[in-house]
């Protein structure tokens, strides 16, 4: 019987209060990672996608807020009857969003060195509290008119913070609101927006901006520490920029140039070679080795159905925005 299939434990993790032992139980077993390795390689070996901590009504609400009314266990190549009450549909791309939320709470929000001055030094919000704030964030960004003058994401987050009474933030002490926006709330946004960790990463969100400056204290010397990019904060919204996609320049018409003869074989007959990329931002870019990159949607549904998927990665597929609530923005509209 899975250790996590315990109604008292699930209640405590979702709604509190829960002890440090409860968190330890979730994170580790026999001194090693339990069913929640930080970056499980795939669901066959890690079994991660079949373990659900988030209370099901909240999971349903979250997915519905992102993708419209849907069942977290529903369809998309798999019969609902084959998925248990606590199961995830491993064939659904929506499963990514739920796994990202749960992992974020377990490994970030419940880490002593993550946004401690914002979330609390000794106690942290429950999983439900974080998800409720994410639901508020989705609704807030949904309410922004598409024709609104774009401004930096950090400004939107500051407005969101000022206009909402968030459940996950500490109430016992005042805190630095700028730091909350540039760290914790930016990480929340990256999960809601389904952004990769950074523009060069295959990992899923968060963008890792909310760690305390002294996070080095938690890591051993053998693990390399990278630097998170803060560029997300200055990207403008509404618009495609915040999603990592550059604005598409207008096509300039030149009557004296015929493009008809410039087919792939003609181009490859010369100095250039085509290469596939799973990053749309690289589409039709040329590198110093004369490689021309062509965008290819990275992940296919059949791959997920086979189970050989790491749901903590980013699918690097536009399919994740196919029914996303922000698809209506010009941000991603042209991509889907």
């Amino acid at each position: 019987m899975p250790f996590w299939l315990d109604d008292e434990l699930l209640f405590r993790l979702n709604y509190g209060p829960a002890s440090s032992q409860d968190i330890e139980r979730v994170k580790t077993q026999n001194g090693k990672s339990n069913y929640f390795p930080l970056f499980p390689r795939n669901i066959i070996t890690s079994n991660r996608a079949t373990i659900t901590l988030l209370d099901r009504p909240l999971a349903t609400k979250y997915v519905a807020a992102l993708y419209g009314k849907t069942d977290t266990r529903s369809m998309e190549s798999v019969s609902r009857s084959l998925i248990s009450e606590f199961g995830y549909n491993t064939a659904s791309i929506k499963t990514y969003s739920l796994v990202w939320v749960e992992n974020f709470v377990v490994y970030h929000v419940w880490n002593k060195y993550y946004s401690s001055s914002i979330l609390g030094e000794e106690t942290r919000p429950s999983m439900a509290a974080v998800v409720m704030d994410m639901l508020d964030m989705i609704e807030y960004f949904n309410s922004i008119d598409r024709s609104t003058r774009p401004k930096a994401l950090s400004e939107w987050l500051a407005d969101f913070l000022a206009s909402h009474s968030l459940q996950s933030l500490r109430t016992d002490k005042d805190f630095d609101h700028n730091w909350a926006c540039e760290g914790y709330l930016a990480d929340l946004f990256s999960i809601v927006a389904c952004l990769p960790r950074d523009e060069y990463s295959t990992l899923g969100p968060p963008v890792e901006l909310g760690w305390d400056p002294n996070v080095d204290a938690t890591v051993s010397g053998r693990i390399s520490v990278g630097r998170s990019s803060t560029s997300l904060l200055s990207k403008s919204f509404p618009g495609p920029e915040v999603f990592g996609f550059p604005d598409v320049p207008a096509v300039e018409e030149k009557g004296f140039v015929s493009l008809e003869d410039l087919d792939a074989s003609f181009i490859e007959s010369g100095a250039f070679r085509f290469r596939l990329t799973n990053r749309i931002g690289q589409h039709l870019m040329v590198d110093s080795d004369n490689n021309i990159y062509l965008y290819k949607n990275a992940e296919k549904l059949t791959v997920r159905a086979a189970g050989d998927v790491d749901f903590t990665d980013h699918p690097l597929s536009l399919e994740i925005y196919g029914a996303h609530t922000w698809r209506g923005y010009e941000t991603v509209y042209w991509l889907c």
């Binding site: 209640f11 968190i23 990672s33 248990s84 509290a129 760290g183």
Partner: protein
């Protein structure tokens, strides 16, 4: 105060162990006192208990939900 020291790149390090997390790193979880769909605390607890019981029973019977 943007973060200057983000998560270690465990993927690059080729490990999924969490030995770098020690007991002193743990925190506790505070109470929310707010439940979905206007449920009371007792109703939420009862719903979870029922769902878990159904799931645990399916493990015992080896049903299709036992995986």
């Amino acid at each position: 105060m943007p973060n200057q020291n983000p998560l270690p790149d465990l993927e690059a390090a080729g490990t999924d162990e969490v030995s770098w997390i020690t007991k002193k790193d743990y925190v506790s979880i505070r109470s929310l006192d707010f439940y979905p769909d206007n449920e009371t605390k007792a109703e939420t607890k009862a719903r979870l208990k029922h769902a878990v019981r159904i799931q645990r029973e399916s493990y015992g019977t080896g049903s299709k939900h036992s995986g």
